[in-house]
Assembly symmetry: C2
Homo-oligomer: 269 residues x 2
């Protein structure tokens, strides 16, 4: 297919998609990544479907122009509202973050009660409910938007009393419903795993969409014979639409790794 | 001048500028307001200066096309980073929110120690420090970015323990410095006045930029002879670049009044 040595393109509304990149590094250490974070227009989670789709087309177009062999939409909001349109309009394998998380949750649950937490837009889209029900109609799903989690993570307040009390406010209703599985349906949320685990208890399975997505990408590349075939070490590139300094500062916390190549680009067209 | 019966144009990155509109209603009840909230690209406070200026030019252009007699930049971030450029490029009286707040703070302080709280961008711009120092070089200024205040207000958590603890974290360092005056340098913050007052104590003067700006607009209209001269009741129009439903829901809380005329427009050009 000739595209094997092209990078995997990943985009997100901002820095959150780096949790997916972190897992791609872990599951696909030989692959090269090109990342675009639309930091000029972050957050997407409170915006309308039409606006989010327009932004997503611009991001996809940018990565296609660079030349990628596969596209990963590392953003729950975009995956929830615009995955079909992107698949229909761009000629490339596309992986969103909803189906991997939904599939893993269905496999994990024993009492058939699953909780889903995410941004306002991800939750109101009903995309996780739809994806889970498509796999097992009998599952009960309890969803909750947690709009303060993203700003808390971006502020670096991962383990403060404020974060703990905010999480209690959001998570207690789900806990009361007796869920045994909770989907972290926003790429920022894995950084709050400790707090969420503390509140929800040890017996609840937390589903990390980022990790499940990386596993799905690995499978797709294998099934399409698109794995990178060279011994040279991979190099990665990061692009943002604004404020590269802040992206690097916050992003290195997400990635647990140095970001060496960062560039600001104009995305609005 | 012929423009007397044109509306006052007001723009903000989102819903926050409505605290200025509320004060304009109070100080200038006969005037008509046209408001634009750039909700597709909110928040501005974490974005770079160049990006914010580009967005501000687009918002100003939109209001100029409608036809306004005066422009109010009801956004600290834009006032801090782009006021000069807007004044230089558009032929209309322009009022930002920085100088009224800075002036009122200088008048209010007795011990010459002023605190300023706002978004990351407003604080890092140093605009308040500059504006205050221009009036009185001997004043000591203590600034603090409070990035979680805007999402807390938008979530409607005005009076919760989370908000209280967040505010303590942000405000305690200012309190320790012994300031006697605190400038609320973000249009969202007046909704947190109760919490801020509770933490800072009764002896501190809180400067509400929104109120000071409305007073300044009133003076400017008077000095230019641009007051509205008709007995018909004013009608107001609100435009947003995304999600009018959410704007109305949150905005009516800011305005303490019904929003009857709302329209979604495309702003990117």
């Amino acid at each position: 297919m000739g595209g094997n040595n092209k990078p995997i393109g990943v985009f997100d509304s901002g820095v959150g998609g780096l949790t997916v990149v972190k897992e791609l590094f872990r599951y696909l250490p030989a692959e090269e990544i090109v990342y675009f974070g639309d930091t000029a227009r972050v957050p997407y989670g409170t915006k309308s479907r039409g606006t989010v789709t327009r932004f997503a087309f611009e991001s996809t177009g940018f990565l296609m122009d660079i030349g990628i062999k596969m596209l990963v939409i590392a953003c729950n909001t975009v995956s929830a509202s615009s995955l079909k349109e992107i698949k229909a309009n761009f000629d490339i394998p596309v992986q969103g973050v909803i189906h991997p998380g939904a599939g893993a949750a269905v496999k994990a649950t024993k009492n058939k009660k699953i909780g889903v937490i995410g941004t306002e837009r991800t939750i109101s889209s009903g995309a996780y409910v739809e994806a889970i029900r498509a796999l097992d109609e009998s599952i009960e799903i309890y969803s909750k938007a947690c709009p303060l989690f993203v700003p808390l993570v971006e502020e670096g307040w991962l383990d403060t009393e404020v974060t703990y009390l905010t999480a209690i406010e959001y998570l207690e209703p789900l806990k009361r419903e007796g869920i045994d599985t909770l989907v972290l349906a926003c790429t920022h949320y894995p950084l709050l795993k400790g707090t969420i685990r503390h509140i929800m208890g040890k017996n609840i399975t937390l589903i990390d969409s980022a990790m499940e997505t990386a596993k799905a990408v690995k499978e797709t590349l294998k099934s399409l014979g698109l794995e990178r075939k060279t011994d040279s070490p991979p190099s990665h590139r990061f692009y943002v639409s604004d404020n590269p300094e802040k992206f690097v500062r916050v992003g290195e916390r997400f990635l647990n790794k140095k970001i060496n190549s960062i560039e600001k680009i104009d995305i609005e067209g």
